[in-house]
Symmetry: C2
Subunit: 302 residues, 2 copies
């Protein structure tokens, strides 16, 4: 990773973490167990990719540092991160993917028990909408647009639907078609990544043309992200990933490498990343951070 | 129950059911499993108490039949019912209250498995905000007020917090203080009932004075409702309740009867209902349906 990008990501991550600290109830709020569990999972070392992409999208649309637009983008990014974290907690449950570790730490249910983990996920999902409700909305996009989009993306047809198909596809491995796999990736990963990016643009009062470009960028980047995730599950150690590697194969999950092999999967990730970059032309150099992040994600090794 | 109230409740229930049918994705929406599970729990014979109270509150504030205000109250009531249903699904899970039956039918996880039940609950919670986002909001109350209140009521300090305290209180029975028990009832039951009633009033553009009266009414009625629920768990059969009776005692849950005995509990329910009725004075006869529902809830035997 180029040094400048490393610095950029680190400073953005600090901003996002500070916003999350403001938005999460303190661990001393009663009943304390639930707030400790919520904070445990939120501050478990996430890279804050989604909110950072949102901030970079706001930047691409001309939002200045420390402007109201940037503050809104930050708040909306925090909402997306909070919703994303709830999906991780619930996906890790024994009755779902049954994972004991995430980012090298015990998962929420290993630490607090299954009941509290279900409730902590529920509470974060609920909180994500509360955070959105407090956003100062821009001229072009009323609050209803944000609430509706977050609910649609996080709902039964997309994010949750993708997890359902994922659960149902286990053990079927290579029997799932490429079209079905694409649908799972679109629902489970690309949808929320796209919403994170669109929210940043919308916070900066993006023109319809800018928002369309961000949507194409987000969709392609999201698909590339999931293909790369599947590749890393095959090629990397658990230690490096901070979660159980080789798990997809062990449970017979449908993945890109399982369907097409590693080489073709790598080519597909590169193709999708290139398509994502193309969509950014309308922004000129203002989208340089988005471009650098896309390249970094393609070449990451964990 | 007087015949006129019976007819009123039945016609309101039909309105609410029709609205829920409009708001829920069809069972054929992909992936079908999750939508079947969502509809299974939503259409499992609920009495629709919360949305009906919302409609009666709108009426008390002067909303006419078939007006825009009444349509908003109906939509917001459906959102509250959808959120309420998610809490039932998650509360019934083996890692929570572990209930196999509800309203005489197998609970969601008995029918669809634990993983799908977690996701169906998540999807309903998410959908409740999507439904709110589509509401036509009245002059006094912008959309942010509704989203914020639903998230606050459904969140970690209230509804979910109450469930946490309930889980943590199990086995402690009479060792919980009256103040703690009151706090659990306020969070777990009274908060959402109050929001259901307030939303109806807000949809009808309630004056601040009217909204305050509805808040006092909802709070007292919600507390009475939970005291009566606890009494029925002791005095009624499982068959009559459609769920496992005597369960509170079996798991050593803190309840009003456990703390104060049946006689004092009945007196408390009556006292709370009277306080609820008093709050309705400002509305005159327009609040007659709210009064009748409060009396019916006090005297119900299931």
């Amino acid at each position: 990773m180029p040094m400048s990008l490393k610095t950029y990501l680190a400073s953005r991550q600090r901003l996002v973490d500070a916003e999350l600290r403001r938005q999460l109830p303190s661990a001393r709020t009663r009943p304390t167990t639930i707030h400790e569990a919520m904070r445990y999972s939120i501050f478990a070392g996430g890279k804050r990719l989604r909110p950072i992409l949102g901030l970079a999208a706001a930047e691409a649309c001309g939002a200045e540092e420390k402007s109201d637009a940037m503050a809104s983008a930050l708040r909306l990014g925090a909402a997306v991160e909070v919703l994303h974290t709830y999906t991780l907690i619930h996906d890790d449950l024994p009755c779902m993917d049954d994972d004991d570790f995430r980012r090298g730490m015990p998962t929420c249910h290993k630490k607090f028990g299954d009941g509290i983990a279900v409730l902590a996920g529920d509470a974060l999902l609920t909180l994500s909408f509360e955070i959105v409700a407090g956003a100062k909305t821009p001229r072009r996009y009323p609050l209803a647009d944000f609430v509706r989009e977050l609910a649609d993306t996080g709902g039964s047809r997309k994010l949750i639907g993708g997890q359902v198909m994922d659960l149902e596809g286990e053990g079927q491995g290579a029997k799932i078609t490429a079209a079905q796999l694409r649908f799972i990736h679109e629902s489970k990963t690309a949808a929320l990544l796209t919403t994170a990016i669109r929210f940043g643009g919308m916070a900066a009062n993006a023109t319809p043309k800018q928002l369309e470009a961000l949507t194409v960028f987000g969709h392609s980047l999201g698909l590339a992200f999931q293909v790369i995730d599947d590749i890393l599950d095959v090629t990397q150690t658990s230690e490096k990933l901070g979660k159980s590697a080789g798990k997809d194969q062990a449970v017979g999950k449908a993945t890109y490498p399982a369907l097409f092999g590693l080489e073709k999967s790598r080519a597909e990730a590169a193709r999708l990343t290139a398509r994502a970059r193309e969509a950014l032309q309308v922004f000129g150099t203002r989208a340089d951070h988005l471009r650098e992040i896309a390249d970094y994600l393609l070449n990451r090794d964990y």
